[in-house]
């Protein structure tokens, strides 16, 4: 028997807002009118967000891009009924290599390795059975049944070499073993889904595409350290992610995968949602704790760390969405298999969101150790026609810019640090010759000034001062003294600030000063902005 025909329609935030919902409706209607035996499934993101709305027809994995209402009708009539491809909607390589009909032929996917995102874009995120059919919750069962017990789970995560994907890269197994060692009848697992880094959307895509993977990761974490409750702290700017999480939690509760005596093991664990309300600083773990308890999200001094004194002063693990989504894979495929992915110090894969001046924007997953150049040119397709890449900003407001000459740097925690930036959470913003690096530094500093909680003076006052200087420079009123002061101020703010926001706020300035000093000089000495961005200087 021939495999049944299915159409997978991406139903994530990006594709939805470019017409995905309409596509789904029209397609369904036409299929019904034509009396075809075809299943239309809404899925999470496949990564190709810049081409949305997208639909993939199986069997064959035929990719259709920019599908408008007419296009949906054509797919139904020409492809599903007539058996011919709809030529005008096929993927057309922007490098001029012509059309590509099938998903796996598209260079965008060639250098990717989808491990965490394996199911995203394939299954219906609102149906727990589809996740289970793809071995979902198998890792949980495995963990609960294993004779090695909770300690065995912690050990497996340790051996996998997994490091936190929320930015700092702290070894996840170590964090878990600290929490496990705490003697407290009450412990908590918090999933950090605040995703405050502007330009980053990995966590949103995971939650929208496969929320159960995150719940499963939380369950395994809870079992490993002896917690019975978990919270997902998710930002309210992600309404679809919140909705899918709510559905996932309800379905898991119904099947007894959350709640009491899970899978007959005697293990109890439940998950609830705490809503964030729009403050970057709430991604910082101590601020997140306060916010989750209904207060203003202001950081406090660490130690004590959350693993000792977290939610309601109880030991608490705070892990990023992507970190937790890695956990089921580690248990299911084994820590050794996992540790063979990536580099010596950075195991596994990393999900990045590609945005800015690049042909293929979207979501990608690559093995650690791949070079930034491979990501930007091979996967991202390079800059828009006629432009030249100038730099790639990694790590968002806490990170730095890697100049085009250094793009051969491998993507791992240490190598990125060596060139003056950080892995961060995975937002990659590509900049080209139409971008001004001084202006970009100003943008990030304005962001930090706006998002500073104001609790400590160096951050509150220092950052504003840096903004003032950068504003003067971009207005053409900067002096050489200003440039010197920038460096000194940056050091002061880093040294004296209480939390990570202030401590890293000046990184974008320091890194652009290091690599793009000539642009700073041109602004100050020649009153010139080569990119034409700084309006006062662009004539």
């Amino acid at each position: 028997m021939a495999p049944p025909t299915q159409v997978l329609v991406c139903d994530s935030t990006a594709c939805r807002s470019s017409g995905g919902e309409q596509l789904f409706k029209v397609l369904r209607g036409e299929i019904k009118d034509l009396g075809l035996d075809v299943r239309v499934v809404k899925t999470g993101c496949y990564g190709f967000c810049g081409l949305g709305p997208v639909a993939v027809v199986h069997p064959g994995a035929v990719l259709y891009c920019h599908v408008d209402e007419d296009g949906a009708g054509e797919i139904a009539r020409t492809h599903l009924r007539g058996g011919r491809l709809v030529q005008r909607l096929l993927y057309r390589s922007m490098n001029g290599e012509g059309r590509r009909n099938f998903l796996h032929e598209i260079p965008f996917f060639e250098k990717q390795q989808r491990v965490v995102l394996e199911n995203s874009g394939l299954i219906d995120p609102e149906d727990i059975n589809e996740y289970i059919a793809r071995d979902g919750y198998f890792a949980l069962a495995e963990a609960l049944r294993s004779r090695a017990g909770p300690a065995g789970v912690v050990d497996a995560v340790l051996r996998s070499g997994l490091r936190g994907r929320g930015g700092a890269g702290f070894p996840t197994g170590r964090k878990w073993s600290f929490a496990a060692a705490q003697e407290s009848p009450e412990k908590y697992i918090i999933c950090n889904a605040d995703e405050g880094d502007p330009g980053a959307f990995m966590d949103r895509s995971i939650l929208e595409g496969n929320p159960h993977a995150v719940l499963e990761g939380m369950l395994i974490a809870g079992y490993a350290v002896g917690a019975r409750e978990g919270y997902v702290y998710v930002r309210a700017e992600y309404p679809l992610a919140v909705k899918r999480l709510e559905i996932a939690i309800r379905q898991a509760q119904k099947l007894g995968l959350l709640g009491k005596n899970i899978l007959g093991s005697g293990f109890n664990f439940d998950v609830d949602i705490a809503l964030g309300a729009g403050a970057f600083v709430c991604g910082e773990e101590t601020a997140l704790l306060r916010s989750a308890m209904g207060f203003r999200g202001e950081p406090r001094v660490r130690p004590p760390y959350p693993v000792e004194k977290g939610l309601y002063d109880k030991p608490t693990i705070i892990n990023n969405v992507e970190t937790l989504a890695n956990v089921p894979v580690i248990i299911r495929c084994g820590p050794e298999w996992y540790a063979a992915l990536g580099t010596g110090g950075s195991k596994g894969t990393k999900i990045f969101s590609l945005a800015g001046q690049i042909r293929n924007t979207g979501l990608i997953e690559v093995p650690m150790g791949i070079s930034l150049a491979d990501i930007v040119y091979d996967i991202g397709g390079g800059p828009p026609p006629g432009r030249r890449i100038k730099a790639v900003q990694t790590g968002g407001p806490s990170g730095g810019a890697v100049p085009a000459e250094l793009l051969d740097v491998p993507v791992d925690y240490e190598s990125l640090q060596a060139v003056g930036t950080i892995m961060g959470s995975g937002g990659l913003i590509v900049l080209d010759d139409t971008d001004c690096m001084v202006d970009l530094a100003k943008f990030y500093m304005q962001f930090a000034a706006h998002e500073s909680c104001g609790a400590c003076t160096p951050c509150r006052v220092g950052v504003v001062h840096v903004v003032d200087i950068l504003e003067r420079i971009t207005r053409g009123e900067g002096t050489m003294d200003d440039l010197h002061e920038l460096g000194e101020l940056a050091d002061d703010v880093r040294e004296a600030s209480l939390c990570g926001l202030g401590q890293t706020a000046a990184n974008p300035v320091l890194s652009t000063m290091k690599y793009f000093w000539d642009e700073y000089l041109a602004h100050v000495k020649e009153r010139r902005c080569a990119a034409g961005v700084c309006k006062a200087l662009s004539h």
Partner: protein
């Protein structure tokens, strides 16, 4: 029962449901904002009383987070994304064009109460940069030229469906009816 009384009843139900839980206040305030359009001093006081919190605490939380607004909003709330991806795709020019067309500054409402112009943090659809949201709807791949069309669209939409009084007008009406010397008194019946 008028609409406002009904809203308070719904709000009280939410408080019963989420009031005891951690972070419950944030959820309650979300719901309150959804019901009333913004978090007025009255609504904040009501929430504080029902949840046995100080008004200062509630006010502190309401003003800390970017998602909460404590002033009445226009009928259409335009939020231009100022995240990095949007910024490098000239979101600022788009914001400027809106300012020009609507004749208001950022975080202000037009005199007719039709539009509030604001900005937002990254909403995670950076592939569509530059983008903005109008109320709940995302509009991506914007151009400066496209702004005028968008404004027209929502203006016309308003003319067709404008039956309900915008919260801004309601608030202005209240201010007019409230005698300056008698701030605490209830507004006279219509």
């Amino acid at each position: 029962m008028n609409a406002e009384e009904r809203n308070y009843l719904v709000l009280d139900k939410i408080i019963e449901r989420y009031g005891e839980r951690p972070g419950g206040l944030v959820r309650v305030l979300y719901k309150a904002q959804e019901l009333f359009g913004y978090l007025s001093p009255d609504v904040q006081t009501h929430v504080a009383e029902k949840m046995c919190l100080s008004v200062g605490h509630v006010h502190g939380v309401a003003t800390f987070y970017a998602q909460f607004v404590t002033a009445p909003q226009g009928k259409n709330v335009v939020r231009v994304c100022m995240g990095t991806a949007c910024y490098v795709k000239n979101a600022e020019d788009i914001l400027d064009r809106f300012r020009e067309l609507l004749g208001v500054e950022t975080d202000a409402t037009t005199a007719d109460g039709r539009f509030t112009l604001s900005t937002t943090r990254c909403i995670g659809a950076c592939s569509l940069a530059p983008l903005l949201t109008v109320n709940e709807k995302v509009h991506g791949h914007l151009s400066v030229e496209g702004v005028a069309r968008l404004v027209e669209l929502y203006r016309e939409d308003d003319l067709d469906t404008d039956e309900e009084v915008s919260p801004v007008e309601r608030e202005r009406e209240r201010e007019r009816q409230r005698p300056a010397s008698d701030q605490g008194a209830a507004p006279p019946p219509h």
